[in-house]
């Protein structure tokens, strides 16, 4: 029986990018549906994610899985025969989940401030953002990927933000490269993977989107 996989998403979402990359890595055929999250969420979205009413939502044979990190774990467990994303060793797995949680707690909120705030708040945010990236860079160390030699879970959780880096830098008026050059090399390396290249939007598109958001909210 063919699996029916639908992904409800919104193209700039770094969260949705995670799920897309995971599906691509596993070679899973899926139907992509773009949601108009600002103006007109579909009845399907509201039905499948009644608690948060947010994308991405993964619908597998009619059953919804919500929250991108949970979706990536789910995809890894269901399509377990190819490209393992999480390590098998319990301790390595706990480390991967820890860093995914760290990224989840820190990167989005701080990143958002680099284009949505100004003055003192912006200066604080830029400092904090660089510190967060430096912590991640230190965890990466000299490894090609966060998990070691293989592209995996933590890379997938973080890489979506790479498409937003130019936007953060442009609107926040700062540069990530000087203190995070190793992380930028990691980003370029990930972009060479087909699953990532297919799932991340062009940075210019993201910049255009942020410009529209700023106009809309008057920030």
């Amino acid at each position: 029986m063919e699996d029916e996989v639908i992904l409800l998403n919104f193209w700039p979402s770094m969260f949705g990018m995670r799920t897309m990359i995971a599906l691509e890595e596993k070679g899973v055929k899926y139907e992509y549906r773009e949601e108009d999250v600002a103006n007109n969420k579909s009845p399907l979205l509201l039905e499948m994610n009644p608690i948060y009413k947010k994308i991405p939502v993964l619908i597998h044979n009619g059953k919804p899985v919500c929250e991108s990190i949970i979706q990536v774990q789910y995809i890894d467990e269901v399509w377990s025969n190819k490209n393992q994303l999480l390590p098998s060793d319990p301790y390595q797995r706990a480390q991967a989940l820890f860093w995914a949680d760290f990224i989840e707690k820190k990167v989005f909120v701080c990143g958002r401030k680099t284009w949505a705030t100004k003055g003192e708040e912006l200066e604080e945010a830029k400092k904090d953002f660089i510190e967060i990236l430096k912590t991640l860079q230190s965890e990466l160390g000299d490894k090609p990927y966060f998990g070691g030699d293989q592209f995996g879970f933590v890379d997938i959780v973080l890489i979506g933000f790479y498409s937003w880096f130019p936007a953060y830098q442009k609107f926040g008026n700062f540069s990530i490269e000087p203190e995070c050059s190793k992380l930028m090399v990691w980003g370029k390396r990930c972009m060479e993977r087909e699953s990532v290249a297919k799932s991340l939007p062009e940075s210019e598109k993201v910049i255009g989107y942020v410009l529209r958001l700023k106009k809309l909210y008057g920030i």
Binding site: H60, E67, I70, Y74, P90, Y91
Partner: protein, 227 residues
């Protein structure tokens, strides 16, 4: 490897710390409990969790594992041949359990924490209403997940039981202090019955604080400064 020394750095009153302790009890794994002094952080904690500097931390041999729900998964996988499975076996059920555990920590817990800090009746009523809204969602989640069995995880307590059940002491104490029962059998009958079963479970009883002791502690930490 599973036979290496196990320690938990934590505090008796913390619901998050209860989670790994319940999991270790379920797996019959002996461990040393290292109580953090209230108001300060030990050298060991700062060394074992340099990123967040928070409890609980599980020390297993020379490894340290942080974040309570991650620790519970680690315990389930490391001692997989001992005791019942903590996470459900089916990937979809696992995704649902993880979803609700995340909801509990990110949404449900926030107003609960704010009830004792609320300034005035209006604010208190508002946060109580938020907790009760969350309880109603969890009541439905319990019915869906348990499928007629006694726990979220089925016949035995599991990941989601632990993720939510660890807050039952604080739910009771906060309700007493606020003068409003927070887990009401009339509003959430299934959840209320589940709560009693959870608290009586042999893996939970040794680490669930006594209501009176917790109430005393709550008075101390939420005491308003004298004018």
């Amino acid at each position: 490897m599973a036979s290496e020394e196990v320690k938990v750095i934590g505090a008796w009153a913390s619901p998050f710390v209860m989670r790994p302790r319940i999991a270790l009890n379920l797996k019959s794994v002996p461990y040393e409990f290292l109580e953090e002094p209230f108001g300060s952080k030990s050298e060991l904690l700062l060394k074992s969790n340099p990123v967040h500097k928070k409890i609980p931390v599980l020390l297993h041999g020379d490894k340290s594992v942080c974040e309570s729900n991650i620790i519970v998964e680690y315990i389930d996988e490391t001692w997989s041949s001992s005791g019942p499975s903590i996470l459900p076996s089916h990937p979809y059920d696992r995704a649902i359990a993880r979803f609700w555990a995340a909801y509990i920590d990110e949404k449900w817990f926030v107003p609960l924490r704010n009830i004792l800090k609320a300034e005035g009746e209006e604010e208190k009523k508002a946060v109580i209403a938020q907790v009760e809204e969350g309880n109603a969602l969890l009541e439905k989640a319990f019915i869906d997940c348990s499928k007629g069995k006694p726990f979220f995880n089925g016949d035995h307590i599991g990941y989601l039981d632990i993720a939510f059940g660890c807050f039952l002491g604080w739910l009771r104490v906060t309700g007493l202090a606020a003068g409003h029962k927070l887990l009401d059998e009339a509003k959430t009958p299934s959840l209320s019955k589940w709560a009693e079963r959870f608290c009586n479970d042999p893996a939970v009883k040794p680490v669930m604080p006594e209501t009176a002791t917790l109430a005393e502690f709550a008075k101390k930490i939420f005491a308003k400064p004298q004018a």
